[in-house]
C-alpha cells in the first residue's frame, strides 16, 4: 500500500525533500515508518519521546497503524507564533 510523507522545518533540511511517496507494508506503525526512514536518511535525528506523529493532519500515537493513501508527517516540538517567549 502507499503512503505520502511530508517533511517540514528541520526534517526538510535533513532530507532535502518536501514530500516522499512510499510503498509501505500493511499495518506499519508511524514510529516504525520513522525508524525505516532513518536508514534511508541517516541525518534524521533521534527526537526520542519529543517527536510527534500526524496522519492526515491529526496527531496520532506512535503505535498508530497506517492505511493505504495516508499522509504522514513528523512533528518536532513546535515554535510558531511569536519571536518573544
Amino acid at each position: 500500500m502507499k503512503a505520502t510523507v511530508k517533511f517540514f522545518a528541520a526534517f526538510h533540511d535533513m532530507t532535502g525533500r518536501r514530500e516522499l511517496d512510499l510503498e509501505v507494508r500493511e499495518g506499519l506503525t508511524v514510529s516504525e515508518l520513522y525508524h525505516d526512514l532513518r536508514a534511508r536518511f541517516p541525518r534524521l535525528a533521534d527526537y526520542g519521546g519529543s517527536l510527534l506523529f500526524t496522519v492526515n493532519a491529526e496527531y496520532v500515537p506512535a503505535d498508530h497503524a497506517l492505511h493505504d493513501g495516508d499522509e504522514v508527517a513528523f512533528i518536532p516540538p513546535v515554535s510558531g507564533g511569536t519571536h518573544a517567549h
Binding site: F8, A9, L52, I75, S79, G80, G81, H83, A84, H85
Partner: protein, 144 residues
C-alpha cells in the same frame, strides 16, 4: 472568524475590520514581531515553516475554543511563513468584544495556545549559523 496561513506580509487593518461588529466596544490585538536578538545572538532573519493545512485546522480549533470560553464577538488569527526580517510581523491575533476585559483575556490566551498547538516552526539565522528552534511548545496528544 478568519484564519490565515500566508507567505505575504501581515497588515493588521483588514483583520481589525473583519472582527469588528456594531456591538463591539473593544478590540484587542497582538502582533508577534521578529526581534534583532535572542539568547544573546544577533538575529539576521527568521524562517517560518508550517504544515499549512494542519496549521490552519489547529488555529481554527484554537479560535473555536476561545469563542466558546469567552463572550467575544469575533476572532481572527493570521500566521506568516517564509523569510521574515527584523521588525516584520509573524503573528496577528485580533479579538473584538462588547467589553474590554474579555477582549484582552481571550487575545492573550489565544496567543498562548497558538504557540502550543500549531505545527509551525521557526529557524533563527544569525551570523555564522542557523538553527530550528524546537522545544518552546509541544502539541498535546489528545483524541479529537
Amino acid at each position: 472568524m478568519l484564519i490565515s496561513i500566508t507567505a505575504d506580509p501581515l497588515d493588521p487593518q483588514p483583520f481589525i475590520e473583519h472582527v469588528r461588529r456594531d456591538e463591539s466596544g473593544a478590540v484587542a490585538l497582538f502582533l508577534g514581531v521578529v526581534r534583532s536578538s535572542n539568547l544573546g545572538r544577533r538575529v539576521l532573519h527568521l524562517e517560518y515553516d508550517a504544515y499549512p493545512q494542519m496549521a490552519e485546522k489547529k488555529l481554527r480549533q484554537v479560535a473555536e475554543e476561545i469563542m466558546t470560553r469567552w463572550p467575544i464577538s469575533d476572532i481572527a488569527i493570521a500566521h506568516r511563513t517564509g523569510r521574515l526580517g527584523v521588525g516584520e510581523t509573524s503573528l496577528v491575533v485580533v479579538v473584538s468584544s462588547p467589553h474590554r476585559r474579555e477582549a484582552f483575556d481571550a487575545c492573550q490566551h489565544a496567543v498562548d495556545r497558538i504557540k502550543e498547538v500549531a505545527p509551525i516552526w521557526k529557524k533563527e539565522v544569525w551570523e555564522g549559523g542557523e538553527a530550528w528552534i524546537e522545544g518552546e511548545g509541544q502539541p498535546t496528544l489528545h483524541p479529537e
